[in-house]
Subunit: 233 residues, 4 copies
Amino acid sequence: MRGRLFHVLSKVAERGEDNSARRERRKEARPGELLDAALQLFVEKGFAATRSEEVAARAGVSKGTLFLYFPSKEELFKAVVRENISGRFAEWTQEFEEFEGSTSEMVRYCMRVWWERIGATRASGITKLMISEASNFPELAAFYRQEVIRPGTELMRRILLRGIERGEFRDLDLDYAVFSIVAPMVFLIMAKHSLGACVAQDTPLDPERYLDAQIDTLLLGLCVRPDAKGARA
Amino acid sequence: MRGRLFHVLSKVAERGEDNSARRERRKEARPGELLDAALQLFVEKGFAATRSEEVAARAGVSKGTLFLYFPSKEELFKAVVRENISGRFAEWTQEFEEFEGSTSEMVRYCMRVWWERIGATRASGITKLMISEASNFPELAAFYRQEVIRPGTELMRRILLRGIERGEFRDLDLDYAVFSIVAPMVFLIMAKHSLGACVAQDTPLDPERYLDAQIDTLLLGLCVRPDAKGARA
Amino acid sequence: MRGRLFHVLSKVAERGEDNSARRERRKEARPGELLDAALQLFVEKGFAATRSEEVAARAGVSKGTLFLYFPSKEELFKAVVRENISGRFAEWTQEFEEFEGSTSEMVRYCMRVWWERIGATRASGITKLMISEASNFPELAAFYRQEVIRPGTELMRRILLRGIERGEFRDLDLDYAVFSIVAPMVFLIMAKHSLGACVAQDTPLDPERYLDAQIDTLLLGLCVRPDAKGARA
Amino acid sequence: MRGRLFHVLSKVAERGEDNSARRERRKEARPGELLDAALQLFVEKGFAATRSEEVAARAGVSKGTLFLYFPSKEELFKAVVRENISGRFAEWTQEFEEFEGSTSEMVRYCMRVWWERIGATRASGITKLMISEASNFPELAAFYRQEVIRPGTELMRRILLRGIERGEFRDLDLDYAVFSIVAPMVFLIMAKHSLGACVAQDTPLDPERYLDAQIDTLLLGLCVRPDAKGARA
DNA sequence: AATGAATGAGGGTTCATTCAT
DNA sequence: GATGAATGAACCCTCATTCAT
C-alpha cells in the first residue's frame, strides 16, 4: 500500500500540480488543450510523424484521454484545422467594406491585421499544416480551399479592385495580383514554422520589419504613383 | 553561358524520359531512378507518409533493392535532398557577375531562370520538402540553409546591392528586401506542390503569367522611378 | 408440487417486469439488474465481445456502479453463471421420485417442465454461454459440470433406469441414452440463442412443436413397444 | 557478430527446425497453416479472445506474417469459415440420390459419414464457432445459413421424405423431424469442443458408441415398425 | 545483384478498472 | 452510494528492415 501511495504521489509530482486542480478544469477545457497540443505538434512534425500519445502528453493527459474527445487521430487533425478557421472572413469583409482611408492604407492595414490576428498566433500553423498535408487529406484540402483560400482571395481581390477603381492602383492583372499580397504572408508563415530565419539561425527574422519592407515595396509596385499616400511615413 | 544553361537543361530532360528507355541501362541508373521516385513521393505525401515499398515500386524495383542502394529510408531522404540541391550557386553567381544589362533585367532574368532550372523541375519539390520536414531533420535543414538559402540569399543580396549602387533601386532595407524576390518564388512552389490543390483546382495557376505579374509589381516597387528600364515591354 | 412450480415461475416473472417498476426499488435490485443485463449480453455477444459499460448501460447505471457490485468483469461473469444455475436439481429429483405415471409420461413431463422453467427463460442462455466460454473459464466449466451436467445426467439416468426396470423401455446403453434426452434440449437452446439466426430466419422454430416432434420420436425409440402409453394422444 | 549468430541459432533451435526447411514450404503452405491454427484457436477461445499473435505463433510464424496473408483478423475468421465449407453438399446430395439400400440404412450411413468427414475433423469446429459467434458476424451467419444449414437441412429432408414415401418411416412432421437427425450431431460437436465429456472429465464420450446409441433410438423412433431393417444387428 | 517472404518494434485504438467528486 | 473522467495495459495492424534464395 505504501508502494501505491508513493507511486501516485510521484506521478502527481511529475505533472507539477495536484490531481484536484487537474480535475477542476475537467471536461470543458480538455478539447481545447488537446487541440492546442495537436496544432503545435502537427505543425512541428507533420501529421504522420506526430504520435497521438505525444499529443496527449503535451496536453497533460494520458493516451486514452485523447480518444475520449476525438475518435481518431485523423478526426483530431480535422478538428484542429476547423477549430482555427472560425469564420473570420465574414467579420473582415465587413470591416473592409466600411474602411474609409486610401486603398494603400487598406492593404497595409490588411496585412498588419492579418499578422496580429493570424500570422502571429497559433492559427498560422494551420497554413503550414495544410501545405504539408494537403495531398494526404483531400477532403480537408477542399474544405480549406472553400473556407479559407476562396474567401481570403475574394477579399483581397475586392481591395485591389477598389484601388484600381479609385485610380490609386495601376491596371493590374487582378487574378494574379492578389498573390502579391498573399505570397509575403505565406512566406512569413513558412519562415516562422519551418526553416527558422530562412537566412541564418542566429539572426531570426523580425516579422514587423519584414512586413514593413514587403508592404513598402508592394505598395510602390501597385500604385500609379510611387508617392501614394499609403506609403510609410 | 549558353553552354552551361544547355547542360543544366539536358540534365533536367534526362529525368523525364520514358520507362522503356530506363530498363535498358539497368544497374547504373538504379540509384537515380530511386531518388527520382523518392523525390516525387516525399514531395507528394511527406517523409513519414511515404512507404519505402512504394518508392521501390515507382522506381520499378523490389523493396529489397531499395535497401541495397540506401541503408535506410532516412538516408534515402537525405540523399534525395543532397542530390537535388547540387551547388549551382557558384555557377550562377559567376553567371550574374558577368551579366551586363540593367539590374531590373537581372532580377527578371534571375527569376525566370530560376523557374526554368529549378521551379519548373522536380528539384523544386525539395523546397516544399524542406519546409515540410525541416523540424524532423534539423541537420538536413542546416545543410539546406548552408547550401541553398545562404548562397541564394547572398546572390540576391548582391543583385539588389548592385541595383542600389547603380542608382536603379531605391534605398532598400537590404536584409529584408531579398524576401521580396524569394517570397514569390517560394509561393509558386507551394502553389505547384500543395496549395495548387488549394488555390483553385479548376483554374490552375499559370506560372509564366504569375511570374510576370509578380516581377512587374516587384520591380516597380524596387526601382527609384516606376518607368525603370527593366519593366516589361 | 404445484407450490414449488409456482414459486419457480414467479421468480422467472420477476425478471421480466418493466423499467419504471425497476427504478423504484433502486439499491436492493441493482445486482440483480446487472446480472440480468450481463446475462443477456454475454449470451448475445460472448464474454470477450461484451463491454462492461454496455452491461452497465443496459442495467441503467453507470460504468462505475458495475464495479461497486462486482470486482471485475470476470467475477461478474462467474456470478452470472452461478446465479442462474441455482441447484434446482435436488428439488427436481424429489419431484420425479414422487412421480406416479408411466416413465414415458415422465420423460415427456421432464422435457416440458425443463422448457418452461429453464429453456424458455433467460436461464437457458447459461447453457449457450458455457458451451461458448467453457475453455476460457475452466473452473467455471468444472463448476457447471458439477452443478448442472452431473446432477442433470444423473436425474435422467434414473428416469431411464426406471423405464427399463419397469419394462417400459428397451435395454438401453444407459450412459449414452441420456444424450437422447439432452441433445434435443441443448439443440433447442442453441437454435434459440444463435442458430436461430441460422436455422431459418424468416420461419423461426416453434419450441412447442419442436419439443413434441422430438419427444414423440424419442419415446418411440426408447420404448419396448411403439404403442407405449406415454405417446401423445 | 558472434552475438547475432547465436541469436539466430537459438531462434532456429526454438522452432525445432532450420530456416531453410521453413523457407521451402514457403508461401503456398502458409495460408493453410494459418487457417488451421486460427480454426483451432477460434474454436477453443472464441474470436474476440483469440489474439492474432497467438494464431501466428501456433502456425510457427511471426505476428506480421499473418497479415501478409489475411488483411485483418476478421477476414481471417471469414476465411476460416469459408475454407472449411467447401461445397460438400453437392457431392453428398449426389451420393444419396444414388443410394440403394433402405432409408434406415441411409440415415445411419448419413450420420456415420458425417462423423467421418466432418464431425471427427477440424471442420466440426466451424459449427461450434458459428454458434458462438453468429451474432458478432451477421453476414457470416447468413453465409453459413445459405451454404451449410440450408443445403444440409434440405438433404436430410429428402432422406426422410424418401423413408415416408417408401413406407419405412411413419408420418413425420417433416420440418421438425430433421432436427432429430441434426440435434445428436450438433450435440456431439458441442461435447467435443466445449464441455468435454459433458458428463465427467474422466470418462470422455466415445463418439462411435454415442452415435450408435443415438442412431438406434432415432431409427426406432422414425420407423413404422421397430424391427426395421436398418436397425443395428 | 535482385527478390520478396519474414520479422518485430512501434503506434493507433479499445476498454476494464480506478478514484476524485 | 453513484458517477464518469481518466488511466494505461493490451491488442490489432503497419511497415522499415533483414536475409535466404
